[in-house]
């Protein structure tokens, strides 16, 4: 299992958040999530300008055998989406914390239940038992 990047926060739905310098938040899914999903073949992205609620539908990632909803870990407005995923959804599998980023939001303040890397790791360890 790869190490969790230290500069990210994590959720129980296996998403990560990165606070950017300009106040925006970049969001993706974790290595645990991409491994569970398997090879991804399509990603449905939200529209730029769309408002998302904390915990609401934000994107859909589709593997061969299942479609999985990606929920917004924090409320806000979509300011950018990773267009590369339209042609190369497997970037999420190959580089979930880097090239596989999914959405960038301008947060509306509601931070949800994001965890530190240690807390997420402990959460993962509990799942394995």
């Amino acid at each position: 299992m790869s190490e969790l990047p230290g500069d990210l926060k994590y959720t129980k739905e296996h998403e990560w958040l990165r606070q950017e310098e300009d106040g925006s938040v970049t969001i993706g899914v974790t290595d645990h999530a991409q491994s569970a999903l398997g090879d991804l073949v399509y990603v449905e992205l939200p529209e730029v300008g769309q408002d998302v609620e904390c915990g609401g539908d934000m994107a859909v990632v589709e593997s061969v055998k299942a479609a999985s909803d990606v929920y917004a870990p924090i409320g806000g407005t979509v300011i950018q989406v990773n267009e590369d995923l339209a042609d190369d959804p497997e970037k999420i599998n190959a580089d979930p914390y880097g090239d596989g980023w999914i959405v960038r939001l301008q947060p509306s303040g509601d931070a949800g239940d994001a965890m530190d890397p240690d807390a997420y790791q402990a959460f993962l360890d509990e799942l394995d038992e």
Partner: protein, 363 residues
């Protein structure tokens, strides 16, 4: 923990992601099911199919028994080693299982049935065999490895004993050879050329390792499913079950109606169903846009939504979503599928989608 095949340790060693399949712990993939799929279409892949059920039938009444038990007719198998694909029907003319049967000698046949249906198949076969001069022997001590792909036979050939190698390579499609401890059949579930090899469990890990060392890539159930879907091959439990006749599962071609006096189990209700004009048809669907079709999604034709996807998925070879579906009878080229509350356009196509590495439909 479920049942494990003799190759379980090999799969774990190779980093396989293990999942439950019909009570068996099986490899879903060894890292990338898409790469494994492409490996089979372009080169060669190896599948552990030891979870499947091998049943040997012997005795003077074996042929007569199988001619009653199966919808296809084993009398068509006149040469040793010749095989056929068939459904085994219940008395309502619906499918208990699909299987391949191999003629070995006038009093010896081998039948290979699905893993998930093992118990009910064996119970049914034994029950039906009671009034025939036939012995039914399950062979649980045998393992099975499928090597599939354009390079599969040539890469696996050196692993076959000198004594048998030439005969193995000379096998025609749907023929098998008893080669010492190995039973080699030129059959498969991928739409590519290859062999399915039945062998003693104790020899399986060694043979598997030799296959991998020869450059045949280990492939899991994920790739097995995308390959068979592209090849237009049915999956029991999804495309048909005990409430579905072969006529509504695209398997009418496996029924031997002649000779008329062969009263196989299910013949009478099947004959009635044959003349029913409202009978649904079984067809392939190609999704026009992006997305993935899924099992049980409703298919809409002319405003009627009583069609259903039986096997939905993604074709790695075509990079499009495809499906098998049971839909309204009639001649039409397009339909729609309900996907997460939207109606998406699909094209109705004849299967197979892909065979022998080539895309067979117009994209």
């Amino acid at each position: 923990m479920g049942s494990q095949t003799p190759l379980y340790a090999c799969h774990v060693e190779a980093g396989a992601r293990i999942v439950d399949f019909g009570g068996w712990d099986m490899p879903l993939h060894y890292g990338s099911q898409l790469e494994e799929h492409h490996a089979v279409r372009k080169h060669a892949g190896a599948f552990d199919v030891s979870h499947m059920t091998v049943v040997d039938l012997s005795g003077a009444g074996a042929a007569e028994f199988l001619r009653r038990l199966l919808a296809n007719d084993v009398a068509r198998l006149k040469e040793p080693g010749k095989a056929l694909y068939t459904c085994m029907l219940n008395s309502a003319g619906c499918v208990i299982d699909d299987l391949i049967t191999y003629y070995l000698a006038p009093d010896r046949y081998r039948v290979i049935v699905n893993a998930a249906t093992r118990e009910k198949d064996l119970a049914w076969i034994n029950e039906q065999a009671a009034s025939y001069a036939v012995e039914v022997a399950e062979r649980p001590e045998l393992a099975m490895i499928a090597v599939q792909g354009p390079e599969a036979r040539s890469l696996a050939a050196p692993l076959i004993d000198d004594q048998w190698r030439e005969a193995a390579l000379a096998l025609q499609p749907f023929y098998a050879l008893e080669a010492g401890d190995l039973f080699i059949a030129r059959t498969g579930y991928t739409g590519e050329d290859g062999w399915e090899i039945v062998l003693p469990a104790a020899q399986a890990p060694g043979f598997w390792r030799q296959c991998l060392a020869a450059g045949i890539r280990p492939c899991g159930l994920g790739a097995r499913d995308t390959l068979r879907l592209e090849a237009g091959m049915n999956l029991y439990g999804a495309d048909m079950d005990e409430t579905i006749s072969p006529l509504e599962a695209g398997l009418g071609w496996t029924i031997a109606w002649e000779p008329k006096n062969r009263d196989f189990i299910g013949r009478r209700p099947l004959t009635e169903m044959r003349s029913n004009p409202g009978r649904r048809k079984f067809a392939g669907l190609l999704l026009e846009g992006k997305g993935v079709l899924r099992n049980h999604q409703r298919v809409v034709v002319d405003g009627k939504d009583d069609g259903e996807i039986t096997s939905g998925g993604f074709s790695p070879t075509m990079e499009r979503s495809i499906a098998m579906a049971r839909i309204l009878a009639g001649d039409y080229e397009t339909a729609q599928v309900e996907v997460r509350n939207r109606l998406l356009d699909v094209r109705v196509v004849d299967m197979p989608f892909v065979r022998n590495g080539k895309i067979r439909i117009d994209l």
